[in-house]
């Protein structure tokens, strides 16, 4: 096959004038893009800009309303992803499409099985997988069960899966979201070596730093439209950000010096298990004082979810002690902790944060429905609930036709505002907040960041858990790194560097002691 390297632009994939609408939303509006042989083409855009939708059409999962897709000069109309795979297109999805109970080999061959007679031939498959792994430097064990692998290993399985199908156009959808800064660098090496072996790559991301590090060319998508195509040399972070958001973006969040008071959260030796009974929080200590934001950085899957849920009473602690506002709150129920003055903005909006079918009003009183204000002797007071809802919608700038519409008719950003409104109302002294801006547009992100800083300035102790290192860096006063269920290190936000945090996230040490 082709030995392109820096060949003269020979397009392998051309997208022309693609439009795709979902009920009520134009996801892609007349989008055009060209991928050349052997290049890394970054598709940059905010959450919800339509990047994944576009690529799902290239991969045959969605069908465009109009427009043309050409692969190696030939127009294609894919009925399903099997046809896209047959054309040499491979996609690694943001959420891995793996079957946890299957082995690596079974996951890789599924849909393109090798057979001997009528039967599966996994031996041959194993040999082919080993060969691929060697050739591209993607070590995987064909007989391991996928559910037991780390995210990094699962990502390698996904790549081998695509290569097993002889994909030479690879679509990588937010591939670095689950990696540490160090792993990201290694991953970029793999991606570059793939292009040297003739693969062409579309790299979807919303992280500007990565774009500049890896891209040959960049296409920026905003609200479903292409707003510019450029090369990496001609771009800066600021120019790309402005293009992506459509206005000047301030990177640094302005905030005053912290004025920390007494310690309101004190966690000692905390232990907790995940849903499968595996201990993921193993001896965690932290102390958060009034009027400061303590950020917890770390690669996802190091116990963040269990940590937050255990602190807020949703998950039993299997060891250790949680002290809130000076009281021993270990083993308390979520309600008891909440009524102490602890608010919790959950990581998973649709799973924990809202009841999708409920009205905005009911969602706004989801944890206070039984308060005297909203119910008397067990009978609810609809008027009071509505009144409260109308006030909060106004105060938190929730864009909605009314408080009695179901919350799932709102955008993600507005749903998150409802949650924030609910949690930040009342007499709170501690805020535990996980991934507060995941999947939101820049406007909502700024709004929520401002609210968190406002609270901190009012003397609330904030424990912030986020997978976005930038968010941690810009909001926190102190930063701790969570590594395998423990606090690997704490640094002052002013002294923190990406490199140091990255090393902590990847290895649990700063390297000095090891």
């Amino acid at each position: 096959m082709a030995q392109a390297g820096n060949s003269t632009a020979r397009p392998v994939l051309e997208i022309e004038g693609i439009t795709k609408t979902f009920p009520g939303v134009v996801a892609n509006d007349n989008v055009s893009l060209t991928l050349n042989q052997g290049e890394i083409h970054c598709l940059l855009g905010e959450n919800g800009a339509g990047k994944s939708t576009l690529m799902n059409m290239v991969f045959g999962l969605y069908r465009p309303d109009s427009g043309i897709i050409r692969v190696r000069g030939k127009e294609v109309h894919f009925e399903d992803s099997g046809e896209a795979i047959a054309q040499g297109i491979g996609m690694v999805h943001q959420h891995f499409q793996l079957i946890p109970v299957f082995t690596v080999a079974e996951n890789i061959v599924l849909g393109n099985e090798i057979t001997r007679g009528a039967f599966l031939d996994l031996d041959t498959a194993r040999r082919q997988i080993d060969a691929l792994a060697e050739r591209y430097g993607l070590a995987v064990d064909p007989d391991a069960t996928v559910g037991d692998l780390s995210v990094g290993e699962q990502q390698r399985v996904e790549l081998v899966k695509a290569l097993f199908r002889d994909a030479d156009i690879l679509i990588l959808d937010e591939p670095t979201a689950v990696l540490t800064p160090g792993e990201v660098d290694d991953f970029f090496e793999v991606v570059k070596s793939l292009t040297q072996q003739g693969k062409s790559i579309i790299f979807i991301t919303h992280k500007l730093r990565e774009v500049l590090a890896v891209a040959d060319r960049i296409t920026v998508l905003r609200a479903g439209q292409v707003v510019g195509t450029t090369t990496a040399e001609g771009a800066t972070q600021q120019s790309l950000a402005n293009l992506m958001v459509g206005r000047d973006v301030v990177f640094r969040v302005d905030k005053a010096e912290p004025d920390p008071g007494e310690s309101l959260i004190r966690v000692q030796g905390l232990r907790a298990q995940d849903d499968r009974g595996v201990e993921t929080v193993s001896g965690f200590d932290v102390e958060v004082r009034a009027g400061e934001i303590f950020g917890i950085a770390g690669v996802e899957g190091n116990g963040q979810r269990e940590l937050v849920e255990t602190i807020c009473g949703m998950r039993p602690a299997t060891g250790g002690r949680i002290e809130m506002l000076g009281k021993d709150a270990t083993g308390w129920s979520p309600r008891k902790i909440n009524e102490l003055g602890v608010a919790h903005i959950p990581e998973n909006r649709s799973k924990h944060g809202v009841v999708a079918q409920y009205s905005i009003a009911d969602n706004l009183v989801l944890n206070r429905y039984h308060h005297r204000k909203f119910a008397r002797r067990g009978v609810r007071n609809g008027a009071a609930i509505n009144g409260e809802a109308i006030a909060l919608v106004e105060q938190f700038d929730v864009r909605t036709p009314g408080v009695d519409v179901a919350i799932d008719t709102l955008s993600g950003g507005n749903q998150q505002k409802v949650i924030v409104a609910r949690e930040l109302t009342g007499d709170l002294q501690v805020l535990v907040v996980a991934q507060p801006t995941r999947g939101l547009d820049v406007g909502s992100i700024e709004f929520i960041h401002r609210k968190i800083i406002e609270l901190r300035d009012r003397g609330v102790a904030v424990l912030l858990v986020s997978a976005e290192l930038d968010e941690i860096l810009s909001l926190s006063d102190r930063i701790g790194v969570l590594y395998r269920g423990r606090l690997a290190g704490t640094v002052d936000a002013d002294d923190a560097t990406r490199e140091e945090l990255g090393l902590l996230m990847a290895t649990g040490t700063t390297g000095e002691h090891s």
Binding site: S333, P334, R335, K351, Q357, N367, A375, R380
Partner: protein
């Protein structure tokens, strides 16, 4: 086809008026789909009747007269419907909590045998009716509540899915009551004077007063079950407990996050659900049968599923749906007698009703009905089910 279209339009207008009455005056859920589903099912049943060479109108006319042909028929139909209110309510309440109580069948048996046992206790005859009747009803209710509570506890404590555990418990209680009622050595609850296996007759003081001497007889139990429907409607729509039940049903994760004790709601909902089935059984034992036989409640729990779906889990609409269900069963023998059509046709029609209500997409497609309301039975994945 145009005449069919006109007929549809006519029905559509009538249904529109009924719809307005139901939604604006009675504040009930829209019932379009249910009405069309019933209509469609009778059409399918009619086709079946024609195939065996009977004029469907003759058969349906007999069925209709069997259902509401006279005062006694009406009373009989109503009487036949009363227990279905309880079994449907059992399903509906559990549905609201996101639980699928396949076990109403077993909860009826548990409630029935408990009521029969308490009702036949020797000292019951010394009590006045005003004490004895509540006692037998409470006993049955408790029996159902306990048998319904077990799968609730299992679900809450171990995660065992209630569909599976209730199916197992249905079989268990069936074996249990069969043994209790059949066994002669030792005698457990069998009435040894009777040639058929049944329990001792309950004390006269524990018999619910009769209202109409119809077949089966209409008794005071109807007030209990109809009353309960309104109570449940109030609880679900207006109280904090109802809010908790509904929240757990729609999103147990968010409920837990919001401080609702999910396990307690699950156990309580299953127990309350079983209690309704138990009450229905007790009212039948006390008012209609006077003793317990294992076959009495056959399929009543499964019919409850259909009725609850037909009423879209609205407790007040359940009264109407149960009336339709019971009166069809009550009218079927006359259809068999006069038109020589097997009473099983009614069963087929009922299965079709359930089918069309559940698969409302078919009905919407056929009758071009807009998506009016959110069906509580679709688009939900049964987490961890079976």
């Amino acid at each position: 086809m145009s005449s069919v279209g006109n007929a549809n339009a006519g029905i559509g207008r009538a249904a529109g008026q009924l719809h307005r009455l139901l939604t604006e005056v009675w504040r009930l859920q829209p019932l379009y789909v249910s009405l069309y589903a019933i209509l469609l099912s009778f059409v399918v049943g009619g086709v079946l009747i024609s195939i065996i060479g009977v004029n469907p109108f003759t058969a349906y006319w007999a069925l209709l007269r069997g259902m509401v042909g006279g005062g006694e028929e009406i009373a009989g139909s109503v009487a036949r419907s009363v227990p279905f209110i309880g079994s449907a309510l059992a399903l509906a309440f559990a549905f609201r909590a996101g639980l699928f109580n396949i076990g109403a069948e077993g909860q009826l048996l548990a409630g029935g045998i408990t009521a029969a046992y308490v009702g036949a206790l020797s000292w019951m005859s010394d009590l006045p009716g005003i004490v004895a009747i509540p006692l037998i009803l409470i006993a049955g209710t408790m029996g159902g509540a306990i048998w319904g509570g077990i799968p609730g506890v299992l679900r809450a404590k171990t995660g065992a899915h209630e569909v599976i555990s209730t199916i197992m418990l249905n079989s268990l209680v069936l074996f249990g009551v069969r043994w209790m009622v059949n066994s002669r050595d030792p005698v457990v609850l069998r009435d040894t004077d009777s040639t058929v296996p049944r329990t001792d007759p309950i004390s006269d003081t524990a018999v619910l007063p009769e209202l109409v001497d119809s077949q089966p007889s209409l008794h005071v139990g109807i007030f209990a079950l109809v009353g309960i429907c309104f109570v449940v409607a109030f609880v679900l729509n207006r109280t904090t407990f109802g809010f908790e039940v509904g929240t757990v049903g729609l999103n147990p994760h968010a409920s837990h996050y919001a401080g609702i004790n999910v396990n307690r709601v699950i156990v309580a909902s299953m127990a309350v659900s079983g209690a309704f089935a138990g009450l229905a059984a007790a009212s039948e034992i006390s008012g209609t049968n006077g003793f317990f036989q294992p076959g009495t409640f056959f399929l009543m729990g499964f019919d409850g599923i259909a009725i609850a779906l037909l009423a879209r889990t609205n407790p007040v609409a359940i009264i109407a749906a149960a009336l339709l269900w019971g009166s069809m069963l009550s009218g079927a023998p006359l259809m068999q007698q006069e038109a020589d059509v097997s009473i099983d046709v009614v069963r087929i029609i009922q299965a079709m009703v359930l089918l069309f209500v559940a698969a409302d997409a078919i009905v919407r497609y056929l009758f071009r009905v807009r998506e009016l309301d959110q069906s509580p039975f679709k688009a939900t994945s049964i987490e961890g089910a079976v």
